[in-house]
């Protein structure tokens, strides 16, 4: 259970929130010439990203406000929280990722459990993004 920094209430336990899925999908205005495919794209189709993902969260057991979150789905690390209607901040430079998209630490996957070479000793804090 991670902590989410609600833009209105501050850091709170994940259990207070509900996730609304992928962000930045706006409802198309009604158009008579809209094809079934176009509409289905909006209603049914969502990406399922491994790594950086913009998603909507609602502080359901708090202020009930919706907001956007940039989360690394392989590590659950929250990289940014921003309000509805805002464009996502650029955080991609700090994302730890291997060629296959796997974060090198934090995902709990096999590739990230053991270090290939010894760390230079005492770095025991995570690199901040």
């Amino acid at each position: 259970m991670f902590v989410i920094e609600c833009p209105w209430c501050g850091p709170r336990d994940q259990s207070e929130f509900s996730c609304g899925g992928e962000a930045h999908i706006s409802r198309p205005a009604e158009r008579s010439d809209m094809s079934d495919e176009e509409w289905a794209e909006f209603v049914f189709m969502r990406t399922n990203a491994k790594g950086l993902f913009a998603e909507r969260w609602n502080h359901a057991a708090g202020c009930r406000r919706w907001f956007n979150v940039l989360r690394n789905t392989s590590t659950d690390e929250i990289l940014a929280v921003y309000r509805m209607g805002e464009t996502p901040p650029d955080v991609s430079t700090g994302l730890p990722a291997t060629p296959c998209g796997e974060a090198e630490i934090g995902s709990g996957n096999d590739a990230a459990k053991v270090m290939v070479e010894a760390a230079d000793g005492t770095t025991n804090t995570r690199d901040t993004v």
Partner: protein
């Protein structure tokens, strides 16, 4: 013979004045307060306490704490307060404690299941996989045999009689482990003013210091326990420091969310437990920083015959002697590959045991160790290994041979008689919590084990769990690292002065990794166990690799190594070693299995906490609830609510009551508690436009004083909710939703307002609990409403259907809606919730003259079905559009609304979708089963049977005088009068006729 022949004359942290008796395997034993079951049984000379999971081999006590793999017992008797798989090394004894051996019959020492061991050749690694994948039916053949033979303890059969609780805490620093490093870290943090929580798994702080030789080790000139007491006393003086003993840190989750499991009362006899204190407690901690000081776990050596009772970890042997004052054997041999274990030989010798030999894998060891042995006349065998053991239920002797330098043994066999073999394959940093936190491990050659490499969360590892084995270094690391951590959270801390240490015995020295000890025997005959709980031998791991299970995760699952209740605490490292050798890869290339929460098995009781019984799912009740209870209501859970289902009078069956309620609703008058309806106050200049967008029908022209029914769809065009909304004023509406859908609808509407249409000025407020609602229905209801309300003329002419009035009941402000869910004349009276019960009592009192009858949800369902009204979620299932419900008349052509475009998708617009229709059985007494399938033929054809639809609602209607049903049927609207058949499990299909859904109208049509 004394009753505790192996109890030393002095020493140990036990209260020798308080003798405790308990029963194990039908026999009576005694120990002292402070003993664990293990130490008390060892004091009596009992090593064999269990049988293994698969082969039923005798199992003894290997460890002294939560790392022990197989010394599991059943604690407690009876069907409720009994607990399986309790480690004898952890359960503290109390007067009257009842302990039973597990997985054996008829008794521990004479066990039928031991035949498994004779057939072990037929139960190889991957036995289950091979059987599942084998010829059809082979699992069925083996299943009954396996289910009986394999297993551990017995589940309690009755509800848990004990109380549990869970608590939440925030802290600056959580220190996991109350050993020397943990104590040092906690004190450093506490002195800086931090909010500190220190969790120690055992009953006492001190960790390995309590296992140290009190005559030998000095910390700041004090005996180890004295130093621990000093730190403990200072810690407890800080208001912001909390010290928890008997508390296991069982799970490390995201963002430093850590679960602690405290056994509050398990060490106290049930009769003496404080009734206001729970048996166990789950602490849910959110820590700014975590200091891991979880120590190291000694791993055994894997040699032929290593699973015999009497084989014990070297540190455990030292722990029993120094911490519990118990000599675990009188004739002890030490078998090791590292320095620290030598102390065990010295300790046991000095405590009075005969130590005939130290067997060390290494060809050279430090001179000081040899001196210690020489001065005690202990024979030292270097470059030598134990190649076998004997003894049926207890170790009798071991055989040793010299290593040949190329992976085998050479020379003659020496047999050494002994009743204890202390073994040590090295110390493995206990990195379970670190790994759970998703930190990365690194293989350390000097330790021949993994240690923390790179942290992911905000934690530090200090002391032995970080691979820092020497006591001095460990204490220094603990205080220094904690100072860094305090700085990160903005607190000033100073490193403590590191105590001076003399006589330390913590270092492993130069360890010589030997993952599997050669025995000189043919491979088939070797029984060298890696996992003593799951009976996994080294050769099983090699078989897994040979059969293609290369990955460490696959080999683990194939052999079940480390998958027992001990989570491989003593076996994983050895398994990795055997696997890396079998594959010819380095430990780093091999990798590790995943350390998962919980660190050790946690009781369901602790996890459930207070959320049991009435608190399992708290129920919402209406203001009228007490009246319902007092008047015979049987309740129906609807969403979170408890609603009256039916009111049974004395002598009535459920059916009688239901029929009476339904008749009253159409013949005189009846009242329903409708307070649970979801109510949303919609306000703002754009409220009307908002309603236009969320309902399928048009709201532009509704005037103040009017009500309108609406359907809400999802964007997929499927019906999601329905309800009546009243126009209070031009910019103010009172929306109602289904009882179960209220929260979902509010959240969903908020979503659209906040994210899609932030330009709309609309404000939503849930007012479900602000209004109490009584829905009065029936031909007499108008008169009753007129009698109840101040100045209301309930004449249908002046108070038309689908309108509402602001009024008062005896001066209490009220809103009356003339709406109907039954098709009958009906009024919903809304009053402020505080007046709900009062209103209800007024209605019953005034209504008596009009034949008032309270009715419940069952009658409500039946009455609405008579009228053909839908219930969202019963007649719809998320795949039904308004067109499917043949309610196209309330779907507007002009203007957008949620889900509109989906109604024109090729699939939703196709002609042959299922539509809602009525069904009448040929036999009016036959009530169809809800869910029954509808087919076109009078007998069921061979599968696949063409299904035309299914029954969604079905009742015996007292008002129609026959059974009625609603159904979703393919092209149903075009099938009026058609003959269909409803299938049933217990007879031939039932003939039915397709009709319109409004049965009341049909009856009136027939009457006319």
């Amino acid at each position: 013979m004394t009753e505790q022949p192996f109890r030393m004359a002095r020493g140990g942290f036990i209260d020798r004045k308080r003798r405790v008796t308990f029963r194990f395997d039908g026999r009576s034993f005694s120990g002292y307060e402070g003993d664990t079951l293990a130490s008390a049984l060892l004091a009596a000379g009992e090593h064999m306490v269990a049988r293994s999971f698969k082969y039923h081999r005798p199992r003894g006590i290997l460890g002294s704490g939560s790392e022990d793999p197989a010394a599991l017992v059943q604690v407690g008797s009876g069907l409720a307060a009994t607990e399986p798989n309790v480690r004898v090394t952890e359960q503290e004894i109390y007067e009257g404690l009842e302990v039973h051996p597990q997985n054996c019959w008829p008794s521990l020492k004479y066990d039928i299941g031991v035949v498994n061991d004779l057939f072990s050749a037929f139960l190889p690694a991957g036995f289950y996989y091979k059987t599942f994948m084998g010829p059809p039916g082979s699992w069925g053949v083996f299943e009954s045999f396996i289910r009986k033979a394999a297993g551990l303890g017995l589940c309690p059969q009755e509800p848990d009689p004990d109380d549990y609780e869970s608590l939440n805490r925030h802290c600056d620093v959580l220190v996991c482990g109350g050993g020397p490093a943990g104590l040092m870290a906690a004190l450093t943090a506490a002195r800086s003013g931090a909010r500190v929580i220190l969790a120690e798994e055992t009953a006492r702080l001190g960790g390995q210091l309590l296992s140290s030789d009190p005559e030998h080790l000095r910390v700041d000139g004090l005996a180890p326990a004295e130093w621990v007491e000093k730190i403990d006393a200072e810690l407890r003086g800080f208001e912001e420091a909390m010290v928890l003993t008997r508390t296991t840190v069982c799970g490390y989750y995201a963002d430093n969310f850590v679960a602690l499991w405290e056994r509050v009362s398990d060490h106290v006899a049930p009769g003496e437990r404080d009734p206001v204190v729970p048996r166990q407690r789950l602490w849910r901690i959110r820590a700014k920083r975590v200091v891991l000081a979880t120590g190291a776990i000694e791993r055994p050596l894997v040699f032929h015959g290593n699973d015999r009772p009497g084989v014990m970890l070297a540190r455990a042997a030292r722990t029993y002697a120094n911490r519990y004052g118990v000599l675990p054997g009188r004739k002890a041999v030490l078998f090791t590959n590292n320095d620290q274990a030598w102390r065990t030989a010295v300790t046991l010798h000095d405590a009075g045991a005969d130590v005939p030999a130290i067997v060390d894998v290494r060809h050279e060891v430090r001179g000081s160790l040899l001196d210690q042995a020489a001065s005690r006349n202990i024979t030292v065998h270097l470059g030598t290994v134990v190649t076998g053991s004997s003894g049926r239920h207890r170790l009798r002797d071991v055989t040793v041979r010299a290593l040949d330098g190329s992976g085998g043994v050479t020379g003659g066999e020496t047999r050494i008689a002994c009743d204890l073999l202390a073994v040590s394959g090295g110390l493995t940093p206990n990195v379970a919590l670190f790994s759970q936190s998703r930190g990365r491990l690194v293989y350390d050659d000097a330790l021949a084990a993994f240690r923390p490499g790179q942290s992911w969360q905000k934690e530090v590892s200090v002391g032995a769990c970080n691979g820092t084995m020497s006591l001095e270094d460990s204490l220094s690391e603990a205080t220094c690292r904690t100072v860094d951590v305090m700085k990160e959270v903005g607190l000033k801390a100073k490193p403590l002065k590191v105590p001076s240490i003399s006589g330390s015995e913590f270092s492993s020295g130069a360890i010589s990794a030997l993952w599997e000890v050669p025995s000189g025997l043919p491979a088939k005959k070797v029984r060298a166990f890696v996992d003593l709980q799951s009976d996994v031998a080294a050769k099983d791991l090699r078989l897994a690799v040979a059969e293609g299970y290369d990955s460490v995760e696959h080999a683990k699952r194939y052999t079940t190594v480390g998958m027992g209740t001990d989570q491989g605490k003593t076996s994983s490292m050895n398994a990795f070693g055997v696997l890396s050798q079998a594959r010819g890869v380095t430990m780093t290339e091999l990798g590790v299995t995943t350390y998962r929460q919980p660190y050790k098995p946690v009781t369901f009781g602790a996890l459930a906490g207070q959320h049991v019984g009435k608190l399992f799912q708290p129920r919402r009740t209406t203001p009228m609830h007490d009246w319902h209870v007092a008047n015979g209501a049987v309740f129906d859970p609807v969403g979170d609510w408890l609603r009256p289902w039916v009111y049974r009078r004395e002598g009535e069956t459920h059916e009688d009551a239901l029929m009476r309620e339904c008749r009253a609703a159409r013949e005189s008058c009846a009242v329903l508690d409708a307070s649970t309806l979801g109510k949303i106050d919609v306000r703002g200049p754009d409220a009307r436009e908002f309603l236009n967008r969320v309902y399928t029908n048009a709201w532009s022209k509704i005037r103040s004083g009017q009500c309108r029914y609406g359907l809400m769809l999802g964007e997929d065009g499927m019906v999601m909710d329905d309800g009546v909304t009243a126009c209070i004023s031009d910019d103010h509406f009172h929306m109602t939703t289904t009882t179960g859908g209220a929260a979902r609808v509010l959240g969903w509407l908020e979503d659209y307002l906040q994210t899609e249409w932030p330009d709309l000025k609309v404000y939503l407020t849930s007012v479900t609990e602000q209004w109490a609602v009584a829905s009065i229905c029936g031909p007499e209801s108008g008169k009753l409403v007129a009698a109840l309300c101040d100045g209301v003329d309930a004449d249908p002419e002046t108070f038309p259907f689908m309108s509402w009035k602001e009024t008062a009941v005896d001066g209490v402000p009220a809103r009356i809606f003339r709406v109907s869910f039954t098709g009958e004349l009906s009024f919903e009276i809304n009053v402020p919730a505080d007046y709900g019960l009062w209103l209800w009592e007024r209605i019953m009192e005034t209504g008596a003259a009009h034949g008032i009858v309270p009715y419940g949800t069952e009658a409500m369902h039946l009455l609405r079905a008579e009228k053909g009204f839908i219930i969202v979620g019963q007649d719809t299932d998320g795949t039904v559009t308004p067109i499917d419900l043949r309610m196209g008349r309330i779907v507007k052509k002009k203007g957008d609304f949620i889900g509109k475009r989906s109604l024109f998708r090729s699939d939703t617009a196709r002609a042959n979708r299922k539509q809602l229709v009525g069904l009448l059985t040929d036999d009016p007494d036959v009530v169809l089963r809800e869910g029954a399938h509808l087919i076109a033929t009078s007998s069921e054809p061979a599968p696949p049977v063409p299904m035309l639809g299914h029954v969604t609602s079905s009742y015996m209607s007292p008002n129609i005088g026959r059974s009625i049903a609603l159904a979703l049927v393919q092209s149903g609207g075009e099938r009026m009068g058609e003959r269909l058949y409803a299938t049933r499990a217990d007879g031939p299909p039932v003939p039915v006729t397709v009709t319109e859904t409004d049965f009341l109208a049909q009856r009136e049509g027939a009457d006319a």
